[in-house]
Amino acid sequence: MAPNKSTEEPVAAPASSQEDETMEEDVALQEADAANPAIYNLGDSRIQLLPGGDEFNTSFEFQKEDHTLGNALRYIIMKNPEVDFCGYSIPHPSEALMNIRIQTFPPYTAQEALNKGFEDLIALCDVVADTFTTERNAFAANQESQMQT
């Protein structure tokens, strides 16, 4: 025979937010989103300058970034003709830090190059998303019409 079920009071379900006031709920929701690792912009700056170098030869330290952004950013910054050198590294695998080194041709500064890198990558993402959506919709419509015939 099986042992009896727990005699303890069954564990309560998490509290429902139904009774919460709207204001409280909004704050709670915001906090919940702050816990989302996908949303970073709330909180402290994640970029720092590393010692050494000057405004044309700069190393930036990124917190909580890895190869995902590092390599893509390196590529797009290297596409900038004002940039002499750009490389990235992850100094230690157990620290969530990523370094980017940018060397530029003066008077263009490394920070300008990094800023342009972000802008260019954003533009690239927009193009990819737009083209992808258009093609996806066309393919889906085509698929549907084939199903009907």
Binding site: M1, P3, N4, K5, S6, T7, E8, E9, V11, A12
Partner: protein
């Protein structure tokens, strides 16, 4: 009561298994003391044994007995 207030079994207060109670040596000698629930490994019969009792199923005589699993909820991380 929520599961967040759950205590790990080894830190539990109150009902601790009494079989090892050295402090009760006097009563244990006399075959007294609280009884513990066991289950027979062969015929599944339930029985209560006290300190000093023969470790043996009262029904079938099988010599392998099991203690029952804790009735407390035990929490695990699913990772």
């Amino acid at each position: 009561m929520s599961r967040e207030t759950y205590e790990a079994p080894n830190t539990g207060s109150g009902s601790r298994a009494p079989a090892l109670g050295r402090g009760n040596a006097e009563s244990a000698l006399g075959g007294e003391g609280p009884a513990t629930q066991y289950k027979c490994g062969d015929c599944n019969a339930q029985m209560k044994l006290k300190r000093g009792d023969p470790i043996r199923c009262l029904d079938c005589g099988h010599r392998v007995l099991y203690k029952e699993r804790t009735k407390r909820m035990v929490q695990f991380e699913a990772r």
